[in-house]
């Protein structure tokens, strides 16, 4: 193990400043600084606030990661950094930082895809990914189904949200119910004491006519609107809003669609492994429903622990480690931050 490459990963695509260090598939450090509290009063991430926070946090977060791993930057074999997709200004801080570290320490730098990193992080907990696998990435910014053949070469997008991301729907419904931002954990908590069958909310893009064109795509905008109308109706008639029941029914609708489509993709592609990542993967109902349903088809569900599902530096290091092991060449020093980096590009 000691001769496996030591890889450092830097993540700044949204509101988390992450620095992770891995050796092979072994996680040595995962230091994180979050600006989430600064965004809470705006009900969403303010890009400039996030960028400013990254600049302030990057040096101390790097210090913590190196201390935690008990290594110096001279020991590092390569530096990986999220080069996209994400918030342009936020990405740029991480990419410039990675180049500064790479230049000063005379190390190679790999600009990598944030989404592929969400898939790669699972290898730190569950070992190498069987090929092919299906990955479902669900967060405040994205909802994607991917076919993963070789993470070093690229992934094949099967479907994505056509409007709101899953996590975005959680945030908006939480706001409707008077719950704090980010909404996911609060909805999850409320839902535990609610009845998931009490309100029949719509399942977007699951009707036969929609499946023809959007077999693996998601839509959560209609669901969000339906919840808003239902809550509004209650308020107008002066009735109390059963927060727990609304949360549970909404969460059930989201998880039903996500797991249904992910498992359909597994079966259609003859794949026996489903990896779930992104902040919404921390949702307890999504995890349990995915496992229940997968069991029926003999499909294995792999979900990293919640701390690795949300954005962090370890996932970037994990992908970097995979790229180095696969002999992928490093990026050039003029590598750009690309807010719209396509999924087909795993490293720049």
């Amino acid at each position: 193990m000691a001769d496996e490459p030591l890889i450092l990963g830097i993540e700044t695509s949204c509101d988390e400043t992450g620095v992770g260090i891995v050796r092979g598939h072994t996680l040595l450090a995962d230091a994180l600084a979050s600006s989430v509290d600064e965004h809470a009063r705006f009900g969403g991430v303010v890009p400039e606030v996030a960028s400013r926070a990254h600049l302030e946090a990057i040096v101390p977060t790097m210090d913590r990661a190196l201390r935690e791993a008990g290594v110096t930057i001279a020991d590092i074999d390569a530096i990986a950094v999220t080069s996209g997709p994400g918030l342009a200004g936020a990405l740029l801080v991480g990419v410039a930082a990675a180049k500064g570290y790479a230049l000063a320490a005379e190390k190679p730098v790999y600009g990598v895809n944030h989404l592929a990193a969400h898939v790669a992080v699972d290898t730190l907990e569950h070992g190498p990914l069987p090929a092919p696998a299906i990955a479902m990435l669900v967060s405040g910014g994205h909802s994607s189904l991917l076919l993963v053949d070789d993470l070093a070469r690229g992934v094949t997008p099967l479907g994505a949200t056509i409007d709101d991301a899953a996590g975005e729907a959680f945030d908006k419904v939480a706001r409707l119910l008077g719950l704090p931002f980010p909404g996911g954990p609060y909805i999850d908590r409320e839902a535990r004491s609610g009845d998931p069958a009490s309100i029949a909310f719509p399942r977007g893009l699951t009707a036969a006519k929609d499946l023809a064109a959007h077999r693996y795509d998601f839509s959560f905008s209609g669901l969000k609107t339906a919840v808003a109308r239902w809550v509004e109706g209650r308020r107008r008639s002066g009735e109390p809003v059963p927060v727990a029941d609304v949360a549970a029914s909404f969460q059930e609708a989201v998880c039903d669609v996500l797991t249904g489509k992910a498992l359909a993709a597994c079966r259609a592609h003859g794949v026996d492994t489903l990896v779930i990542g992104g902040g919404v993967a921390a949702n307890s109902r999504l995890r349990s429903m995915a496992e229940q349903r997968a069991q029926r088809y003999g499909i294995r569900v792999r979900v990293p622990r919640p701390g690795l599902c949300t954005d962090n530096g370890a996932m970037v290091a994990a992908l970097g480690s995979h790229l180095v092991a696969a002999g992928v060449r490093p990026s050039r020093l003029d590598l750009p931050a690309d807010s719209a980096l396509p999924l087909t590009t795993v490293s720049v």
Binding site: V49, L55, I58, K99, A104, E106, L335, A340
Partner: protein
């Protein structure tokens, strides 16, 4: 570090300093040698492109190191322009300086970027005699003696530096600078976008007396009149020359690498502790949440 001086006298303190400034469209990286009694340019790269700070800066740093056959470990200090400047580009220079300083264990010093335009020094771009001086093909290759200089890519259509302003501030020779300016007060302005400028006012010795601030050019012009300013400098001054109504200095239009290091030289020579590089933003963030987080990731 202690090095053998040219005359073989031991005890001459020579520090190789990396200087970066990304507060304006001019993305600058330079190596400057600070000795007990001087500051000398060793290598220089400047590219004018308001949209590519992130791509340009690191390769330019690598290039200046290669120019003088130095390695990062040879650096003794880093000086960075703190702005004010458009945020996204400005952060590139500061995070680069901070991370390199962290790895190398050397101090980082910040200087207000406008001071680097105002300071009474010979503009870097005229210092052709300096050893190791290099200007990349895309650089702002202006020289006071080389006729009108063309700005690099990305600024097509702007006036060429040095064009039409010769004579106003003695831009005819290598000694161009403030030594001849006497008590003349100077307004330095950089483009702040949104039809505003970052500005400051300096006395004849290059000491900042007001600013930095960010305002509409007309506001800066009014303040400059109150302060008896007689000349303006910087790309923002060129851009809004009509509004300011002041004679213009041709050079430097952008923060000057040697000037920035000169302003930090006392701290470098004294081995003063470095500082956390805090950008001069001057504006609050636009406090509007991303309307859609679709561009943001899982």
């Amino acid at each position: 570090m202690w090095a053998d001086g040219a005359g073989g006298r031991l005890g001459w303190l020579t520090v190789l300093v990396l200087v970066v400034d990304s507060s304006t469209p001019a993305v600058t990286a330079a190596l400057v040698e600070v000795t007990a009694d001087g500051v000398a340019l060793r290598a220089y790269r400047c590219t004018i492109d308001a949209r590519a700070h992130g791509e340009l800066l690191a390769p330019q740093i690598e290039a200046v190191l290669t120019d003088v056959d130095a390695r990062p470990g040879d650096l003794g200090a880093i000086v960075a322009g703190l702005g004010p400047g458009p945020f996204t580009g400005l952060r590139v220079g500061l995070v680069t300086a901070a991370t390199m300083g962290q790895v190398l264990g050397i101090p980082t010093y910040g200087v207000c970027s406008l001071d680097g335009i105002a300071h009474p020094t010979t503009p870097t771009t005229t210092a052709d005699a300096s050893p190791g001086h290099a200007v990349s093909g895309k650089a702002e290759a202006s020289s006071a003696t080389a006729g009108p200089a063309t700005a690099g890519d990305g600024t097509a259509g702007q006036a060429t530096a040095g064009d039409g302003t010769a004579g106003q501030v003695g831009a005819g020779g290598a000694t161009v600078g403030w030594s001849t300016a006497g008590e003349r007060r100077v307004l330095v302005a950089a483009d702040a976008r949104r039809k505003e400028v970052y500005w400051a006012v300096y006395d004849g010795d290059g000491q900042r007396i007001v600013g930095p601030e960010v305002d509409a050019p007309a506001v800066a012009a009014a303040r400059a009149r109150e302060l008896a300013v007689t000349v303006a400098a910087g790309d923002g001054a060129h851009r809004y020359a009509d509004v300011l109504g002041l004679p213009l200095r041709a050079e430097p239009r952008y923060p000057d690498a040697v000037a920035l290091v000169t302003l930090a030289a006392a701290r470098i020579r004294a081995g003063a502790p470095g500082e956390t590089l805090t950008p001069l933003y001057l504006r609050r963030p636009d406090a509007v949440a991303a309307t859609s987080r679709k561009s943001v990731l899982p």
